[in-house]
């Protein structure tokens, strides 16, 4: 109902086009200036002395047409890794965040473990975690430890991203005012039920935009799993590059990742705008 609700309802890009002024005229102006800028950049690249060879090496139409299907198929594995990891991250990170927020001296060791966990997995580069788990865990030769590199790749991503996402959750939980907990406890709800029905639902709603932001990062890091074996889009394009002596498959992979992340990014923008307009509408509080 308020003006702030408008960018939430329509496309965020349109709102960006309109700038702060709004109106038909500014749409044309921003469109024109965008075209001019794009034209200048393209002209600069195309007229550069090395362009013909770059074009041949990175934007080869024939190589693209021959390879995009295979890369797209391999990209299915990236999406699979992403979806599986995401589910576990959402649950595991919430658990870590809740453990870290347990009050009282009794839970000190648990809080401590949660802190060590987040410090550790935010500190170590993702690529190292993937290597260490992917090569180290199967090497233990324990019959009950899975040997699949895909399993360990996903596990590594879950461990690393959970550390980040736990911090996002924690910020959300701490942003819920203490009076909400008081209200719930005063009704006789236990500490756990207060978390479950009152604190966590509010916290999660507030952190959806930063959560999605982390997941955009995750979509790209699925490519790192290739380093321990599984053939996903990046690995497939490497294979294709080696076979064709041409870099176009890399560009193809890049386009696929962009096609996946842009909708996520727009969804994040939309959620943020909607949240803002809701806060405006709820100005009475």
């Amino acid at each position: 109902m308020s003006i702030g609700a408008d960018p939430g309802r329509g496309s965020r890009i349109l709102a960006d086009l309109k700038g702060s002024g709004g109106g038909q005229r500014s749409v044309w102006i921003s469109l024109a200036s965008t075209l001019v800028l794009a034209g200048v950049i393209i002209a600069l690249v195309v007229t550069s002395p090395g362009w013909p060879s770059v074009k041949e090496a990175f934007f080869n139409r024939q190589v693209f047409e021959d390879n995009w299907r295979g890369i797209l198929d391999a990209f299915g594995l990236n999406i699979k890794i992403f979806l599986i990891a995401e589910v576990f991250i959402l649950v595991f990170a919430l658990l870590i965040a809740i453990l870290r927020g347990l009050p009282g001296p009794v839970f000190f060791p648990i809080r401590m473990l949660a802190i060590i966990y987040t410090d550790l997995f935010r500190g170590v580069p993702t690529i190292l975690v993937i290597y260490i788990l992917g090569f180290g865990a199967p090497a233990l030769q324990l019959s009950w430890v899975p040997v699949s590199p895909l399993f360990w790749g996903i596990t590594a991503l879950v461990l690393v991203y959970s550390a980040y996402v736990a911090e996002v959750y924690r910020a959300g939980i701490e942003s819920v005012h203490a009076s909400q907990e008081a209200a719930a406890r005063s009704l006789g709800l236990s500490r756990f039920k207060t978390l479950r029905f009152v604190i966590v639902p509010q916290a999660v709603r507030r952190v959806i935009p930063p959560l999605l932001n982390d997941f955009i990062g995750l979509t790209k890091d699925t490519a790192l799993v290739a380093l321990i074996g599984p053939v996903e889009a990046f690995r497939q394009s490497q294979i294709d590059v080696a076979a064709t002596f041409n870099y176009t498959p890399y560009v193809c992979t890049a386009i696929l990742f962009i096609l996946l992340t842009i909708p996520l990014a727009r969804l994040t923008d939309w959620l943020i705008a909607r949240q803002r307009s809701r806060q405006l509408a709820g100005g009475a509080r």
Partner: protein, 251 residues
């Protein structure tokens, strides 16, 4: 009727926040079906007193007895005690992510284990009684302050408490919305609800209270029926406080 007909008894309650003493040996007796008003300046300890009764704050020493049962024992089940005590806060503290009906039915369902249909039917009866039935599917942010506070009262009533604690429930409201909330409290009083009320609404307190108690810097300075406290206070501090209130046009 319990021990001496007392619904609530406070025995020399001491409470400090860090180095700052907030309650300095408060004694208080609330009878069954009695409306007990706490008055006093901001910071005199009214809110803290109510929060101690609801065990939201831990007292440093003293005893609190609810119908003769000591609720400040270390081994007490706080969740069970709180079921019997409803508290309404100045800032409503409704759950913003839940509809009115969900706010009201949460505790009956999750604490008392009532089936959804039964909890909702009961909630709707209560909401109807306070003129909120048509708001049951709204979210708190879409209600006026007065409506929100009435929902908060209904939410507390849904647990069928023996005692209601009201913590300056009209202080956050626009003047024209105060009456609708006070009318609800008046109705509860007429229905025999035992209430301990911290308030700045002096004329309301004079009107509704059986007992008024003037709290000053963590001590009970004066206590008695409203006619006595408001008409001929014994203590100089009480008189000064009431004079300031009159000047502010609140009495």
């Amino acid at each position: 009727m319990s021990e001496n007909g007392r619904a609530l008894r406070l025995e020399t309650i001491w409470k400090s926040f860090g180095e700052t003493p907030v309650l300095k040996g408060v004694d208080l007796d609330v009878g069954e079906h009695e409306v007990f008003c706490l008055i006093g300046a901001s910071g005199s300890g009214k809110s803290t007193l109510l929060r101690c009764v609801n065990l939201l704050e831990k007292i440093d020493s003293g005893r609190i007895l609810l119908r003769g049962d000591e609720i400040t024992r270390p081994d007490i089940d706080v969740n069970r005690v709180r079921r019997g005590i409803g508290i309404v806060f100045q800032a409503y503290n409704l759950f913003p992510h839940m509809s009115v009906l969900q706010n009201v039915t949460l505790a009956p369902r999750q604490v008392l284990g009532k089936p959804k249909a039964e909890a909702e039917a009961e909630a709707i009866v209560l909401l109807e009684r306070f003129g909120l039935a048509d708001r049951r599917d709204e979210y708190p942010d879409r209600l006026s302050g007065g409506q929100q506070q009435r929902v908060a009262i209904v939410r507390a009533l849904a647990m069928h408490p023996d005692l209601m604690l009201l913590d300056e429930v009209t202080s956050a409201l626009d003047p024209e919305l105060v009456a609708e909330v006070l009318n609800v409290i008046r109705e509860l009083a007429e229905g025999g609800m035992t209430m301990l009320i911290a308030t700045h609404e002096m004329s309301f307190a004079r009107d509704i209270a059986n007992q008024v108690c003037f709290l000053d810097e963590g001590r009970i300075l004066e206590q008695g029926p409203p006619e006595q406290i408001f008409v001929e206070p014994k203590e100089e501090r009480t008189r000064q406080f009431l004079e300031r209130i009159v000047e502010a046009g609140r009495l």
